[in-house]
């Protein structure tokens, strides 16, 4: 499975890292197929695996269904059309749910009911993915290293832990197939949206420090940290005003760094081989902090396109980096 650098005798490992797929069914299926497609050895699925929106498909009295999609009312006639619509919604990372008008009214009126629906649909999607990945990867002996992100609620941890297809990485030091260590942290510094897994920089630093304490060899280690380092270009996204509206100057959106200062400090201090990050979909790119190569594969999951990064690792070096847009 692993190549060998003839000159140095070191193992060569190719990993494929993606992040922020936000529930996109098609992106997850592409990830499972990428093992053979890109001929890589390991798959790493970064945080923010769950979707953000439930799309109700309301049954009408005339036997048709109506829904809202990309801001437009959609009328679905016949089972085939409904199935196609459900697939489309799932591929874009949303959760379709067929319901009656009464059900819709009840759920719409109750935040608790909405939370319940979200949890049910998120769980179902993750179980579906686990089954799909098990079937796809069972003969390969490969698991998907998976971690949640700041947008993912904590109840999903148990599902990821129990699944045979995923290697739940959150908060752990794992050893990859070529012997290198990887630590993972799903948490981010504060965002304007008060997401489920965000905390102050102080708390984040404390979390990170306790995970890093487990690492034995930083020269080959991977820091799989959802939040990118502050002011690294991997963390640039449109600046927002207090109403969450994009700030523009001269007609262009103004970009601002929103990464984590503690992640940056940690990488600067410990100098691992590689930093894998996500969180900022627009932040696709690489950035070097001392000897550490930091990578954000970016994300455009709603288009059904899986952005990723193939990295070739040989001992204490990253010998190749290739972004993909499949």
């Amino acid at each position: 499975m692993f190549g060998k650098d003839k000159s140095s005798g070191k193992k060569r490992m190719r990993i494929f890292a993606v992040t922020d797929i936000h529930g996109s069914d098609v992106c997850f299926r592409k990830l499972c197929n990428s093992l053979d497609f890109y001929k890589v050895d390991e798959l790493i699925l970064g945080g923010d695996v769950t979707g953000k929106m439930v799309v109700p498909i309301v049954t009408r009295q005339d036997g048709k269904w109506e829904s809202t999609f990309t801001g437009k009312q959609v009328l679905l006639e016949g089972e085939e059309e409904r199935k196609r619509f459900i697939k489309l919604v799932k591929d874009m990372g949303f959760y379709p749910k067929v319901m009656s008008q009464d059900e819709f009214t009840t759920i719409a009126a109750s935040p608790e009911e909405q939370t319940k629906v979200f949890r049910q649909l998120i769980s179902e999607r993750l179980y579906e993915w686990a089954d799909y990945a098990s079937n796809k990867l069972k003969d390969r002996g490969v698991k998907i290293y998976c971690a949640p992100g700041n947008d993912d609620e904590t109840f999903i941890d148990e599902i990821l832990e129990q699944s045979g297809a995923f290697e739940m990485a959150e908060g752990k030091r794992l050893v990859l197939a070529d012997g290198r260590e990887m630590i993972t942290c799903a948490w981010s510094n504060p965002t304007p949206w008060q997401t489920p897994r965000e905390c102050s920089e102080e708390e984040l630093e404390s979390r990170l420090t306790s995970i890093v304490a487990q690492v034995q060899d930083f020269s080959t280690a991977i820091f799989n940290l959802h939040a990118p380092p502050y002011n690294s270009k991997l963390d640039e996204c449109p600046a927002l005003d207090k109403d969450l509206k994009v700030i523009s100057q001269a007609g262009q959106p103004v970009f601002a760094p929103v990464g984590s200062t503690s992640v940056r400090r940690l990488i600067e201090n410990y100098q691992p081989l590689l930093g894998l990050h996500g969180h900022i979909h627009e932040g696709k790119g690489t950035y070097t902090l001392g000897r550490t190569l930091c990578v954000n594969p970016g994300s455009c999951y709603t288009e059904g396109v899986l952005q990723g990064c193939i990295l070739t690792l040989e001992g204490t070096k990253v010998t190749n980096v290739q972004f993909t847009s499949g």
């Binding site: 592409k30 799309v55 759920i107 939370t115 489920p196 994009v246 007609g251 696709k284 290739q322």
Partner: protein, 540 residues
Amino acid sequence: MVDALGGKKVFLRRSSGLIKSASTWDVFIFNVGLVSVGIGVANMILYSSYIYPGASIGWSSLIGGLCMLLVGLGMVAWTITIPRSGGIYVFGTRILWPPIAFALSFVEVGAWLYYTSLGSSWIMNIGIGPGLATLGILQHSPGLLAAGETAAKPIWVFLGGTAFLCLSGWLIISGMRKYFLSQKIIFSIAVLGSVVLAILLLFYRQSDFIQNFNSVMAPYFPGVTNAYQNIIDTAKNAGWVAGSGGVDWWQTFLFASWPFMAYIGAAFSISIGGEIRSGGRGQFIGIIAAIIVSTLAFIIMGVLSVRVFGSDFLGAVSYNFFNGVQGGAIPSAPWITLLIAILVRNPWLALFINLSFIAWIWLWIPGMQIYADRAFVAWSFDRLAPDRLGKVSERTHTPINAIVLAVIGTIILLALYVFTPYFTTVIMIEAAAFSWFVVLFAGIFFPYRKKSLYEKSPLAHTRVLGLPAQSVACFLGAIGAGIAFIFMWSDNFAAGHSKYSLAVMGGFILTGLIIYAIMYFYRKSKGINVNECFKEIPCE
């Protein structure tokens, strides 16, 4: 919570990224800022009657605007379907064979870099040179007049242009905050200057101009009482053929490529599609409104200029100057900045309008360089350019290598423009129009060839005459770009299809293909297949 925005019946949970979009106004401002009114109007006045006798500036502006409107529709469709930053490179790589997509992107970036270098030369040619000459003429100062002439000489155009290109590079390297601030100030000056220009043209009459022109030019035409008429007569005697009085439609069509060249900036928000997040509406209104407003501005300023200066005079004065007609040439190139200065005979007002033209031209320079930098970084990520081009400086947090390469590229193109005959005025725009045509044409088939991607587009539910909206919009866009290409192809002055023109265009496309091939084999030797960057992973 139920998302009540726009009455959508969906449930949203607490998660990041749910932001309100940048406004349509922002997209509009971005695009208008990249329509160089200065370049467009200045060229229209200088060349219309001289090279295209009988051409109607108003109709040419309108025809160019209609072509651009069609192109804009196609580009709007693309950017709604693929709301990513990167312009035609992103669109092309989704539908075309990767080497072709890269080669077209290479041509496009080459065109915009060429535009940048052209802009820097025009700051000297249209701005500083005529500005000094204008003051020299108005103040009867031979020293200022000579300085103006010197500034417009090739070596000074090159040196001055290089300085502006480097200044722009420095501005971008030093960070976007400085860039935005400077663009804001410069855009305000540019717009204000154009408004003042339009008002002046509206309230002055041709008789005012003739009187002032004869008075100002008296020292340069000794013994001639009516220098204005003398210029027209000497030009005709020297062989210049004036328009017949009516509209010559063929010349009008040919001349449309000049305003089209300036309007292209109105669709530049496709390059920041992923950053706008305003979805289809913002891009649609932002692009279309920018095209319409720019077209109206060109028509108003063009028609008023002809009314005040006179069509025959505009053609004759350019003809005499560029052909050195004895007894008929004025001492400086007859750019509109000079003519308006003579019209108002107020050095300060003349200087302000001159400054506003420089401001319009300047807006292009960093804007276009940034476009090229982004393309270089994108190519680097896709392993089609050296890794170093994608590196971001730890100190400035900007892609210094990419910016420096863009500056060097523009300086080389500036030298080619200034010192060689191979790069005629809009030859690279012809190549860019070709690139846009190919990408728009390919867009017709996108809904059929990439069905699974297209059905996620907000456009997927809109059909026109039973056809996918993107197919129709891209068909119209291809027609617009195709017509513009034909105008340029048929016009040997603007671009044409001489062996030089074809060599420049073909050379750029071929260079793009060669670079792709080199990078393909180089990366392959390192274990990377660059074609995999763009291939869609099977999802079953």
